[in-house]
Amino acid sequence: MEHQSEKKFPLTAKDYKLYEEVGEGVSATVYRALCIPLNEIVAIKVLDLEKCNNDLDGIRREVQTMILIDHPNLLRAHCSFTTGHNLWVVMPYMAGGSCLHIMKSAYPDGFEEPVIATLLREVLKALVYLHSQGHIHRDVKAGNILIDSKGAVKLADFGVAACMYDTGDRQRSRNTFVGTPCWMAPEVMQQIHGYDFKADIWSFGITALELAHGHAPFSKYPPMKVLLMTLQNAPPGLDFERDKRFSKSFREMIAACLVKDPKKRPTSEKLLKHLFFKHAHSNEYLARTILDGLAPLGERFRLLKAKEADMLSQNKALYEDKEQLSQQEYIRGISGWNFNLEDLKNQAALIQDDLVSNSEDSSESRKHKDGQENLCFESASHSKAASHLEGELNVVHNLEDPLAAFPMKPLRALKGCFDVSENDKAADSPSL
């Protein structure tokens, strides 16, 4: 019951003093702040509710999950309140920032193996807890792995988390299309059979590669291509030549996660026993190894933002290069896109042409073309759901203008519209 700390965080904005910006989402900004009565530094996520069209229920669930969570490896919320049309969520301050930001500032080519093992073990402990509680995180990635000044690791952002126990009814699986394409499991993309906790294990494997290389596999491709590659190509993994510096157990751990058949992936509990995590060290080790010498978070964040603005303006000049798009999104750290499955099919056709004309590897592209027939996007109920999203999603229509090409909203903002799960519907209808 440690969470029910004696400390009572005040519920009015005037009791907090906002300092610099340390993080940014689409409809939210995170600030370092002082809780004046408690004289404690906190992080406050300020969410503009006017930008969250119809998903107040989703926001309620996210905040409630964060309030009711009690695990050393999960970022919990101290309290939440509204001030005007903004929602403030008060959280512990994680001075190290996210692993993505740390990599971008100081480790562009990824971390050393002992660091990765330590980070991933902590994240996996968080997943074991979440899964035992019936939650699927659905957005595991380096950008959501935060580190505090002492090297403690916490998984954050339950914006798209789903609960298999929602509404008292057992949910066999979920069917909602959420997450971030590079980290998204094939079964989540396909939206056919639904998915469960194992989707997080796939994302966990992708995150392992991200921490090893400094970026996720396929991250330089546009999201549509990421979807196709995830579905059609062999699962990504560590390269025998290029990744010689990594151990066999690391290679095997990743391979165990990145199996296309979710049933063949280990549970989080089982994965935690993997030999690879024997190489994990303590929190202090992380603090010593990767946090030492880093500039304060606010400063790093400002530099990264400036750099990003720079790259965006450069990209404006080069905007013919569609492959920059995904990278841009990646740089911006935006956590998701929305897709209309009809658009997706059209887009898949477009990419086919691209691959033939300007792919650097033509044998690869032919493979894609051959695999094209097997794509299984069709599903009557889904395309119906998708068509009522038209207008929200302009992925295809705006292709000529790459800067406007991707909806800048996170998936959660539209979650309500996109929930095509049979189970969700069943849960709403009176079963009494």
Partner: protein, 388 residues
């Protein structure tokens, strides 16, 4: 004894043994997969009856307030946690396995006949956070469990409505608010419970709960309130007919005119949902005939917040679309005709919305055609100029 009879007896005995066997088979499976969390090693597999009985003993101990020291209490809390987890495993299935209907039914029956729901609710504040969360899920799930195709939960609650009082007032205590709130929303799926709440004094409290400072609690209360107003159509219609005066007076003054953005936004959305529900058509006609109401909605349309403006418009259009507009509505519309037209001229959405555009065009047409009913008595402008 004739052989035939003996055989039949044997067959009977055999049948009985297989059925008890299958239950035994179920239970060890539950226990095995839970063994990690099971803190005390019991060799004997527990049946639903055992689980409920043991849990009951522990809950009675906690509820008695006996003080045998912290370590003793912690031990009991851990044991209780294990039993509640076992219930959860039976109800939700383990590791992706389907729950077994017979085991669920047995457990449900025992749970309610032993009054465990009451004990769990009473003891909830004393439990550990994780146990509280599990208890909430278990109680929520029991609401949907049929026993011989009857909903035992509904019958139980009908006889124990004081528990609903307890759950509702839970919104006043941040420690249990979210847990009680989660249980409550499941309980009001039973029509008899929803009716009880709607017809009770508690309804007035929701107007305050919705505006509590903790967003997590306030939004939970708002979600329960919405469920109450939307789920059981006929009961809601009856409630609104009988309680029209105070309900909408409070709805207007406490929610729609609240200084809290969140409250106004959720309230105006809910108002639209209530009035547009076919079963509430009588109430809708009454609501859109009042000058006081149109005033509130027009003020909401002038807000700077787009999302509130839009939802207010969807209610405002009902006043205008009403083919039997009373004079007081006509007069308000007439007095503000030019301002309304100017306002609608600049009232656009960021993205295209065909329904909105059609509605807007129709509202504009109606307003253009409005003529004064009693030109002399129009007392001038009711509203300040609308800022566009």
């Amino acid at each position: 004894m004739p052989i035939a009879v003996k055989k039949e007896r044997e067959l009977h005995a055999f049948k009985r043994s297989t059925s008890s066997l299958s239950l035994k088979k179920i239970v060890p499976k539950v226990l095995r997969s839970n063994s990690m969390k099971n803190l005390f090693k019991s060799k004997k597999p527990r049946t639903p009856v055992d689980i409920v009985r043991e849990a009951r003993g522990l809950l009675l101990y906690l509820n008695s307030g006996a003080d045998d020291g912290k370590s003793k209490r912690d031990e009991k809390l851990q044991q209780l946690d294990a039993y509640i987890q076992e219930m959860k495993s039976i109800l939700y299935g383990i590791d992706g396995a389907e729950p077994i209907p017979e085991a669920c039914a047995k457990l449900t029956q025992e749970f309610f006949s032993d009054d465990i729901m009451r004990l769990l609710i009473l003891c909830l504040p004393k439990l550990n956070l994780e146990t509280r969360k599990d208890a909430t899920r278990v109680v929520a799930n029991f609401q949907r469990q049929p026993v011989q195709s009857r909903l035992v939960a509904s019958q139980y609650l009908e006889a124990n409505l004081d528990l609903i009082d307890k759950l509702i007032t839970g919104y006043e205590d941040p420690v249990v608010a979210l847990h009680y709130g989660g249980m409550l929303r499941e309980c009001i799926r039973h029509q008899v419970v929803a009716r009880y709440v709607l017809m009770s004094e508690h309804m007035k409290k929701f107007f305050d709960y919705i505006q509590l400072p903790n967003f997590d609690v306030a939004s939970d209360a708002a979600s329960t309130f919405k469920e109450l107003m939307m789920r059981h159509k006929s009961t809601v219609a009856e409630f609104l007919e009988e309680n029209y005066s105070w309900f909408f007076a409070d709805f207007n003054s406490k929610l729609l005119e609240s200084s809290n953005y969140m409250t106004r936004r959720q309230a105006v959305k809910l108002l639209g949902d209530i009035l547009l529900d076919r079963s509430n058509s009588g109430v809708m006609t009454r609501y859109v005939s009042s000058k006081d109401n149109i005033k509130v909605l027009m003020n909401l349309m002038r807000e700077s917040h787009k999302s509130i403006q839009i939802d207010a418009f969807h209610v405002f259009k009902l006043f205008v679309a009403n083919q039997n507009k009373p004079n007081e509505i006509i007069n308000v519309l007439y007095a503000n005709k030019s301002k309304l037209l100017r306002f609608f001229d600049g009232f656009t959405l960021d993205k295209e919305d065909e329904v909105f555009e059609t509605d807007k065009a129709q509202v504009i047409r109606e307003i253009v055609e409005i003529e004064s009913t009693t030109p002399v008595s129009v007392s001038g402008e009711l509203f300040k100029p609308i800022a566009v």
